[in-house]
């Protein structure tokens, strides 16, 4: 049983007109086997929360804590966080030319597991995980994310999660840009991993669509850099009905 605790987290980014505060005191606790949906309008700071947990250098934490089973995550380097059991499925996965997917996956698995996986076992494991996500085996020899479609990139993010077996996974708009078929495959990948592990999931999304596939235990409405309201799955249904207007005071942001 693990716990990821975010306490009064304040984060700013450097802009042309000086530092700008994006997160203004986020409090959130996720435990193993729980799935929390974080929903909010564009610009509310959802992705900043995701990147701050992973340790992207662009985001400066000015106050607050992130604790993984009591350990200070913010004191860890990016790679240490991953090895401690945190995983971020990125909204925009990065292309790394010249580095093959298979080499990358093996390097990552070796790092997070603390030893190189046995070759025979590993090949089988990757093959199986790729097949579960309906990924053509030929992708293993392609450069990381290079020339992948949006859907292919998202499948590979979930593939990495399945192979690296994190304690907590932050899925940053993993549903964005996916057609229905791809959404189904990606969601199945997440659900399979949930079923086979004790992972705690932070599912960041703008839309309620993915929640039809991945059932949340808790739903948090994220507005203006903090959690505005928390509730059960019924909160997502209310958002689907009424949008974010109750929280933002404008009608512009309609979740679909």
């Amino acid at each position: 049983m693990s716990t990821l605790e975010i306490r009064d987290l304040h984060v700013e980014v450097e802009t042309e007109s000086g530092p700008k505060e994006i997160l203004r005191g986020v409090d959130l606790t996720v435990s193993s086997n729980e799935t929390h949906a974080i929903m909010g309008p564009n610009g509310s700071g959802k992705s900043t929360l995701a990147y701050s947990i992973a340790g992207h250098p662009k985001y400066q934490v000015t106050k607050g804590q992130v604790l993984l089973d009591g350990e200070d995550v913010l004191a860890m380097e990016v790679d240490e966080r991953a090895r401690a059991g945190l995983f971020l499925a990125m909204q925009y996965p990065v292309e790394v030319p010249g580095v093959s997917m298979s080499n990358f996956l093996r390097s990552a698995a070796t790092a997070t597991r603390g030893e190189a996986p046995k070759v025979r076992h590993w090949v089988k494991e990757v093959k199986g995980a790729m097949s579960d996500l309906e990924i053509d085996p030929a992708f293993a020899e392609r450069s990381v994310n290079e020339g992948f479609s949006g859907g292919e990139k998202k499948r590979h993010e979930v593939l990495q999660m399945a192979l690296l077996k994190p304690k907590f996974a932050v899925l940053d708009e993993t549903d964005s840009g996916l057609d229905v078929d791809a959404l189904r495959v990606v969601s199945k990948g997440v659900n399979d991993y949930k079923a086979s592990s004790d992972v705690g999931v932070l599912l960041i999304t703008h839309y309620t669509r993915i929640l039809r596939y991945i059932a949340p235990d808790r739903v948090h409405v994220f507005v203006n850099g903090r959690v505005a309201e928390s509730g059960g799955p019924e909160l997502a249904e209310e958002l689907e009905e009424n949008g974010y207007v109750r929280f933002t005071g404008t009608k512009e942001e309609q979740p679909a």
């Binding site: 966080r81 991953a82 990065v94 010249g98 580095v99 790092a111 997070t112």
Partner: protein
């Protein structure tokens, strides 16, 4: 990293320009632009003249197009005739073995041989004629030349290793080497330069009709070495050359390969890999002279640079001149240069030039880009648990991957990968 690409198939056009990245500046990438031939600017090759005689060339002062990137003071007098006065004379030694690395052995059979010849040997000059003063100085000054003759189709499994060793620290040498493939000969050759000293050299690659040469020219000199070399590549009818140039060591290395097509059907690939550390100046000046019809050229050079804080900058220069003359109908050419700045205090100059005098071509294009190490790539890899030093290695290995993958001598590929790792260790330690 950003890129500028242009593909030209218009009737008459030329492009020229440059990319410079100075310390502290962000990624810069200058579109070379496209100009018509009526532009008043004189293309570099129009000024180009050739001669075996050193006195046919003015002593460079540093402003000349050919020399403007080269720190002349570091040439130890190779450019102004004072080198042999100020330093004792030495010799460059050349040896040839069959195989590469641990498996190399003495040459057997008569199909391949090393000859040491005098200046009057009629074959010398078949590759090309010097086009700058240092190359002409080398031609005017050497005593004996080495000629490696291949008159057989050698198996890919048995590369030739030609080892060229410098004269030793403090000494100067003028060298002449010709690698000669007779009709329909085939060979994979590792031309391995190492050692110390100051060297000016001409290297001829004479590839006869139907012959096929795959050569990796490695410059892995000691820290003190200065090497200024002209490579003359002569391409016979339907001949193939794949030349990979690798520059890893030396204080200053300047290479000027020129492709001379002798008849239609020539096919040349020039690849390059260079890795410059603090204080090193590595310069590559290419001229692909499409003077006859239906020839092909592909150029792909990749460089990495890492300076040291407070030290002298790492500096690389890449000039890629491609000329398609009026007679060269059916030409197919593309050139690419990419530079990766791993640290501050590094400067990469990249200047592709393309001049096209006939519209009847298959294709012509170029690309040049210089960029900083991509922190987003680093973040992505580290976010998967991969430690920073290893993540950097993966990215740099990936950057050079497509050049190294084309080297067909496995033991040499291993050596190049190890050399790159060793370079990277230096900044991660």
């Amino acid at each position: 990293m950003t890129a500028q690409d242009s593909d030209l198939a218009g009737p008459v056009a030329s492009t020229g320009g440059g990319t410079t990245t100075a310390p502290g500046s962000p990624v810069l990438d200058v579109d070379p632009g496209i100009k018509t031939a009526s532009s008043p600017k004189t293309a570099p090759w129009e000024e180009r003249h050739t001669s075996y005689d050193v006195e046919a060339f003015e002593v460079p002062r540093g402003r000349e197009e050919q020399w403007r990137f080269t720190p002349l003071r570091r040439l130890r007098g190779l450019h102004d005739g004072s080198a042999s006065v100020s330093s004792p004379a030495g010799v460059v030694t050349v040896s040839v073995q069959a195989g590469f690395g641990d498996s190399a052995s003495d040459l057997a059979g008569s199909g391949t041989r090393l000859e040491t010849v005098g200046r009057d040997d009629a074959r010398l000059g078949d590759g090309g004629i010097p086009a700058d003063r240092v190359a002409a100085q080398a031609w005017s000054s050497f005593d004996r030349a080495h000629v490696v003759v291949v008159n057989e189709a050698r198996s890919d499994d048995e590369p030739l290793t030609v080892t060229v060793t410098g004269p030793g620290e403090g000494k100067v040498a003028f060298a002449h080497l010709q690698l000669r493939l007779e009709h329909h000969a085939e060979a994979v050759v590792v031309l391995d330069h190492r050692g110390s000293g100051t060297v000016a050299a001409n290297t001829e690659f004479v590839v006869a009709d139907g012959a096929k040469l795959e050569v990796v020219e490695v410059h892995d000199w000691a820290d003190d070495a200065v090497y200024v070399g002209a490579q003359h590549l002569s391409v016979g009818r339907d001949a193939t050359i794949r030349h990979t140039s690798v520059t890893l060591g030396g204080d200053l290395v300047r290479l000027s390969p020129v492709i001379n097509y002798r008849a239609p059907g020539g096919d040349v690939e020039l690849d390059g890999l260079y890795f410059a550390d603090a204080g090193q100046h590595f310069e590559q000046r290419l001229l692909v002279d499409h003077s006859v019809a239906h020839c092909r050229s592909r150029v792909m050079y990749k460089g990495a640079l890492q300076g040291a804080e407070g030290g002298t900058a790492a500096h690389t220069v890449w000039i890629g001149d491609v000329l398609i003359r009026k007679a060269a109908e059916g030409t197919d050419t593309y050139e690419l240069n990419r530079n990766l700045l791993l640290t501050d205090n590094a400067r990469a100059d990249s200047v592709p030039n393309l001049e096209i005098e006939t519209g009847e071509i298959v294709g012509a294009g170029h690309a040049s880009a210089t960029g900083r190490f991509d922190d987003e790539q680093l973040f992505y890899l580290m976010a998967r648990g991969i430690p920073e030093a290893q993540a950097r290695r993966l990215v740099v290995r990936g950057f050079f991957g497509e050049v190294i993958a084309k080297v067909r001598v496995p033991a040499l590929r291993d050596r190049l990968e190890a050399a790159i790792e060793a370079e990277l260790e230096a900044i991660n330690s």
